[in-house]
């Protein structure tokens, strides 16, 4: 199947999947209780409660409520966030930018460090570097994130005092404009090294905490895939051609080892997103994860539904990208089968 046809077909299926997801999200949230809870207080009379319910159409049948919800989304209205005390649609982009910046930083760490470590270890199987990498990887995959994060926080923030907390220094934040909401990018656009350094410095601990586990997963996958590839005949055939070991490793074995690793990287994305909740709470990072944790605790349904819907769509898109990269790396993959 042609690549373009395949992308088109996948894109056409996307809306159907999204509608399916939205129904599931809506139903599950409603099972959790009426969304009106967050607006109630003990002094309200039943009449007042009924009035609020009527104002938000909560007196209508559930399927009508669903239609209202979807209609709102189509018009850019995602509801009111009780936690943020603002429309969800207004707050969401800001929080999303914060989370994306964190997730991308961690993802890049995981991708490059994971592949580099995995290659390094796989090419030196059962020698000292391999064992050391294994220790790093196993600890990364098994340390609970909240524990590791708090540990780093205690050491570098509380004791040594070199690491900052939060997302930026208030004064520096105020010194430049923030058109994208990604503070590193904003700083580059504003041409301010101080702001850039501040943004990166605030990112370090959170992205190490978040990226460590993913790095471990990628590194282990890369290592075992590489070990497997290095035993294949084509590696010996490449050596028999007179290629230097460096080229055999990089151009032949590693390229093939990336094929299974890419799938894992796709899965790792979910791992990262899930991790943002813990990490954002620990480092007081003002992103989606923390907002969501607050919303869950306070029954802020409009925010929750938006979040779950959004992450589901994100997953669908990431999966599509992973499939495409995969097919590009491995020509034997027939798309659409």
């Amino acid at each position: 199947m042609q690549l373009r046809d395949y992308i088109l077909r996948r894109l056409m299926v996307l809306p159907v999947l999204i509608i399916g997801v939205s129904i599931v999200v809506f139903t599950l949230t409603r099972i959790g209780g009426s969304p009106v809870g967050i607006y109630l207080s003990h002094e309200m009379t039943p009449d007042e409660v009924a009035e609020i319910e009527a104002r938000f159409n909560l007196d209508k049948p559930v399927w009508v409520q669903y239609i209202y919800w979807i209609r709102g989304i189509a018009m850019g209205d995602f509801g009111w966030s009780g936690v943020a005390a603002a429309p969800v649609a207004d707050v969401f982009p800001l929080k999303l930018a914060a989370t994306m910046e964190l997730a991308f930083a961690s993802g890049l760490v995981a991708l490059f460090l994971g592949i580099a470590l995995g290659t390094y270890a796989g090419a030196r199987r059962n020698r000292l570097p391999d064992h050391l990498t294994r220790i790093v990887a196993v600890s990364g995959a098994s340390l609970p994130q909240f524990w590791f994060g708090i540990l780093l926080l205690i050491i570098f923030w509380a004791h040594i005092g070199i690491a900052p907390i939060g997302r930026s220094d208030a004064a520096i934040f105020a010194s430049i404009a923030h058109p994208t909401g990604l503070y590193t990018i904003d700083a580059i656009l504003a041409g301010s090294p101080t702001a850039l350094w501040d943004a990166i410095w605030h990112l370090v601990l959170p992205s190490i905490t978040l990226g460590y586990g993913a790095t471990a997963i990628v590194a282990r996958m890369m290592r075992s895939a590489l070990v497997e590839e290095l035993q294949q005949d084509y590696v010996d055939a490449a050596r028999a051609k007179g290629l230097a070991e460096r080229i055999v490793l990089k151009r032949h074995a590693r390229r093939n080892a990336l094929v299974p690793t890419v799938t894992v990287i796709g899965l790792t994305f979910g791992f990262l997103l899930q991790g943002t909740i813990t990490v954002e709470i620990i480092y007081r990072w003002p992103g989606l994860g923390r907002w969501m944790a607050d919303s869950v605790l306070r029954g802020d349904q409009a925010t929750l539904m938006t979040y779950v819907l959004f992450t589901s769509v994100l997953f669908l898109v990431v999966n599509l990208i992973v499939d495409l990269v995969y097919a590009n790396l491995d020509r034997r993959v027939t798309l659409g089968k």
Binding site: Y234, A237, K241, G242, L243, I247, H252, D330, R331
Partner: protein, 413 residues
């Protein structure tokens, strides 16, 4: 000497080669004192049952064994490559029959002793190898053309630069491109207008060289083939690609490790014919490894029969088939040409190849041999000349130091 009667110096001489493997069961003597010559321009067939050490022997030429667990336990593999033709400097001319090589000799080197860099220069250029399963020996993620191109990058940088019409002292990123040794940043350098044009020239020259290497193996439409991926080709086509790649630099010696075992019979015949034809035109020497005696008979000038890490019989093909001496060779022949024996299975010889861990000082065929006698149990027979150019390791043909000698009459089945 075993077969020194022949005139010209052999292209390779294996002497007392010992390759062991460290395993959980102990040290496996996979190849245990093997000696033979590969004469200039000949095809030497190496036959034996599975696990007898054929591949280990073949791979030793290119040091393609994993160490560890492999142990280079001793011996030497002397290689005498042809000298580059003085008239054309390796390009190929009338004087050298367009092989680019002349009859004279380079100095001889011990392939087991040279540095890895020297080994790397020999691999793919002077000694090439084709593998059993062409489906596995080609990289699935690279197009055919790019894989063959690597041989030229490694060994034909000068020719590539000349063919591209660039001066011989071309340096920098372009030379690194033409020798596949890029540095960080070369991608950008090569994208600069001047360099890009030169790179295109090198690429065009490369495509020409790859296409002509492919054309040698009679594939239809070589230029189109270069853009295809291995999985898009049939097994026979893949093996042709492997052969094109192996012979691209006109090697002096080709190691062919069961190159047709993974192919079906009709394709096998055509591939054999192709190897034979290319070998004769280019005067390449071939070590042809197979477990199929009748196949080896078709293609080889001489045959070496291997058993349990040793060569038990070696000689001219006609002589071996007319007058097989070793009981194992005889067993193989009795088993070989039969329609109802699956290929590779040797039904007529009872038992299986013994464990090669700490072999005792006795004949290794003991226990499977129908003629064994007292001498075979206490002595280890060495290869000895029984007729001109024909050597056998069995006490039937030469006296044992002690014990009762076996004869062909005795059959203790």
């Amino acid at each position: 000497m075993l077969d020194a009667q022949h005139g010209a110096a052999p292209v390779a001489s294996v002497r007392d080669l010992k390759v062991y493997f460290q395993t959980k069961r102990g040290i496996v003597h996979a190849v245990d004192g093997v000696s033979f010559d590969i004469r200039d321009g000949e095809t030497l067939g190496l036959v034996g049952e599975t696990g007898c050490g054929k591949s280990v022997t073949g791979r030793s030429f290119l040091r393609l064994l994993p160490v560890p667990p492999g142990i280079q336990a001793g011996g030497s593999v002397m290689f005498n490559g042809h000298a580059v033709c003085a008239a054309c400097a390796g390009v190929g001319c009338g004087a050298c029959g367009s092989t680019g090589r002349q009859a004279g000799r380079d100095s001889s080197v011990d392939l087991l002793g040279i540095s890895s860099e020297d080994m790397r220069r020999i691999r793919g250029d002077r000694i090439a190898m084709i593998f059993q399963d062409p489906g596995k020996a080609l990289n699935p993620t690279l197009p055919i053309g790019a894989q063959i191109a690597e041989v030229f990058f490694q060994h034909r940088t000068e020719e590539l630069i000349a063919l591209a019409g660039l001066p011989a002292d071309t340096a920098g990123a372009i030379r690194r491109f033409a020798s596949q040794s890029p540095r960080f940043g070369d991608g950008w350098l090569l994208a600069l207008p001047g360099a890009r044009a030169q790179r295109r020239q090198v690429e065009a020259a490369l495509a020409k060289m790859v296409a002509s290497a492919l054309a040698e193996t009679q594939v239809p439409n070589p230029v189109k083939l270069m853009a295809r991926y291995p999985h898009e080709l049939s097994g026979g086509m893949r093996q042709r690609v492997m052969i094109a790649q192996a012979l691209a630099c006109n090697p002096d010696l080709l190691i062919a490790d069961e190159p047709t075992t993974a192919l079906d019979v009709t394709v096998e015949a055509r591939i054999l014919e192709l190897i034979r034809d290319l070998q004769q035109r280019r005067k390449t020497s071939v070590l042809y490894i197979s477990h199929d005696l009748s196949l080896v008979r078709r293609i080889s000038d001489r045959v070496a029969v291997m058993y349990a890490g040793r060569i038990v019989e070696i000689g001219a093909t006609a002589e071996i088939f007319a007058n097989p001496r070793h009981p194992y060779t005889r067993g193989l022949m009795a088993a070989a040409p039969s329609a109802d024996t699956p290929r590779g299975k040797l039904a007529a010889i009872r038992g299986t190849v013994p464990e090669l861990v700490d072999p005792p000082s006795a004949c290794r065929f003991l226990g499977r041999c129908p003629h064994e006698a007292g001498a075979c149990r206490s002595n280890d027979p060495a290869l000895q000349v029984v007729a001109p150019g024909h050597s056998v390791a069995c006490f039937i043909d030469h006296p044992a130091p002690s014990g009762e000698r076996p004869t062909y009459d005795r059959v203790t089945a």
